[in-house]
Symmetry: C2
Subunit: 360 residues, 2 copies
């Protein structure tokens, strides 16, 4: 078991990382203001892990309500969120009832948002079950749902009281989902952790084989990276935006293809290549760096060529991104391999990157 602390002044919390944490619910119980929880999961994850978690909690005298949502990014919307509220209100859950998210990033983001706004805020615990959720979405307190006009447009910054990353849950994760999580993993290396990028290059085979020790180290390292950034800039006024490397392009890909066609991580992977290409056009990234980035992403089973949406469509989609300020799109760019910064791009440079990075 490894432990990473997120050092938020108003509410520090622990991320516990290890195998079979679901059976040992003492850490959860220690966080409950009332021995009552509502576990939110989905139709895929609930049959796999909900009975085990529920039994362990009930054995510890905790009253457990459950809400099982349909599975998929396309359900990350208000209608599905309302199913959580319906469940909580029907069970008469109170302000001290803790919401527990058991699932991937979709369940985590939705349950976190529900916790932020149900009765103006109730306690919240994350049990992420995808690689992406364990290394990224469950840490840092960003919660959201999608709006037909934009992804993650409605949400809140709302911190969990505890994150439990149980590696055993990854055993059942489909390969494509595992790869999608690797996009965010590789992102940490590119942003500001060259040593980790190099560790990944050296250990990518063990990681993709889901070697337990490699995974435990990888998740801890990612959580440490994210925790540090979040502690320094909880509400994304500054440096936290670096975590969005590849995301401005990536969100355009997701929206342009229609949500769910590409996975979030796949879009981020191709988006990081576009960001690297833009940085290359600015003379900051060498041909060799580009090759290393593409090679690592490909070994992780990720796309490195973006879909041909047309440059006008890309520009239009990106201008709707949340990272827009006074009409100017902010991009996360690479100063060099393993070092990133927040910058702007001339339309010319964006078009150059798109021309080099999109399918013909």
């Amino acid at each position: 078991m490894r432990n990473v602390q997120v050092e938020l002044a108003h509410a520090p919390y622990d991320i516990r990382i290890g195998r079979n944490l679901l059976d040992d619910v003492a850490a959860i119980v220690a966080q409950l203001p009332q021995k009552r929880v509502a576990i939110v999961s989905n139709e895929t994850v609930a049959p796999l892990y909900l009975p085990q978690l529920q039994a362990a909690l009930e054995a510890a005298d905790v009253q457990v309500h459950t809400v099982v949502l349909p599975d998929g990014e396309r359900f990350k919307n208000w209608e599905t969120l309302n199913l959580i509220f319906d469940g909580l209100l029907t069970a008469r859950c109170e302000r001290k009832t803790t919401l527990i998210a058991l699932g991937g990033g979709v369940i985590g983001d939705m349950t976190g948002f529900a916790a932020a706004v149900y009765q103006r805020g109730v306690p919240f615990i994350q049990i992420p079950t995808t690689l992406l959720a364990q290394v990224d979405s469950s840490v840092g307190g960003k919660t959201a749902i999608n709006h037909p006009l934009g992804k993650n447009m409605i949400g809140a910054f709302y911190q969990p009281r505890l994150v439990l990353a149980d590696l055993a849950t990854l055993d059942t994760l489909p390969a494509r989902e595992f790869s999608a999580g690797m996009a965010e993993v590789i992102k940490y290396g590119l942003i500001d952790d060259l040593a980790f990028f190099e560790w990944l290059e050296a250990n990518i085979d063990a990681v993709m084989a889901r070697d337990v020790d490699a995974l435990e180290y990888l998740i801890e390292r990612c959580c440490q990276n994210k925790a540090r950034v979040v502690a320094a800039d909880e509400h994304e006024h500054g440096q936290r935006a670096l975590l969005n490397l590849g995301h401005t392009f990536g969100h355009a890909i997701e929206a342009g293809l229609g949500y769910g066609v590409w996975l979030h991580g796949e879009a981020v992977a191709a988006g990081m290549v576009l960001a690297a290409l833009a940085s290359h056009a600015l003379g900051q990234i060498s041909d060799d760096d580009l090759a290393r980035i593409r090679a690592l992403l490909e070994k992780a089973g990720l796309p490195v060529v973006s879909p041909a949406l047309g440059e006008e469509r890309y520009l239009e989609l990106m201008s709707q991104d949340k990272k827009v300020d006074a009409g100017k799109i902010k991009f996360i760019l690479l100063e060099k391999l393993g070092q990133s910064y927040i910058g702007e791009l001339k339309t010319e440079t964006i078009k150059q990157a798109l021309a080099a990075g999109c399918a013909a």
Copy 2:
């Protein structure tokens, strides 16, 4: 012009009170991180005051978007909230675009909630145009929408950057709405301001005639009272709950009759009489006190007899209230006239109060 400061450590803000503040937008402009706002109003208030406010802002070089919602508590729901998001997203409003609520408590609560969750939070300004909103709902940062299973069940604590209470807007307020606001005004006297309760008894005719000086004093006094309580307990962990005097009963009345049949303030007035009757049953409030409370409410044009929903229905509705903790309903009770506390009531005592306070 009077000014009341809400002393929140993380984000103190001013409540400006006076006539014709809408014409003088310097105070608003000083709070804008970007010269761009979206004003949210409704079909009743917009024709009266939106052109004036919009023109004044545009004269100060501020880009103004507007969203006009249907009017009514029954529209205080997710579907209507989405109209705000649609407007913001269509206009491509960004994280620094300020939302301005121009209207009563419904517009204020909904716009505040929209500001809390649009892109995880954008700046927010309140321009309350009902008495209730000026003395109560616009101050303190509670925002919410209703859920079919409960009022104000989905929301956030989210503070405005500025509150502008323009007395001139009250000129057009219907008498019934004015009276509804008086319920919350009288509430401040009952909770912990006996001197104000007595001032109201002495000046109720001038107040009901909307005498300008009387109103300005009254609004300032209420805002001072609320600001003090909110500063001491922003998230309602303790003393802030005193502001809910009459509200547990009141919410049951609103829900039991169907939202909108009685106005919120009317339900609170009758609810305060029920709370006083329960306190009377506990031997804390005299017959004379009861008579004074009823007399003042009646002079303010408010109901003092609660509807006959049946005691079982009252108990059921109250058990769904947000002020429930571990199954126990919290009530705000009167220790004596002008002094309140948070307590619990035996079912027996609740039934006694209902028997004495409800229509036959």
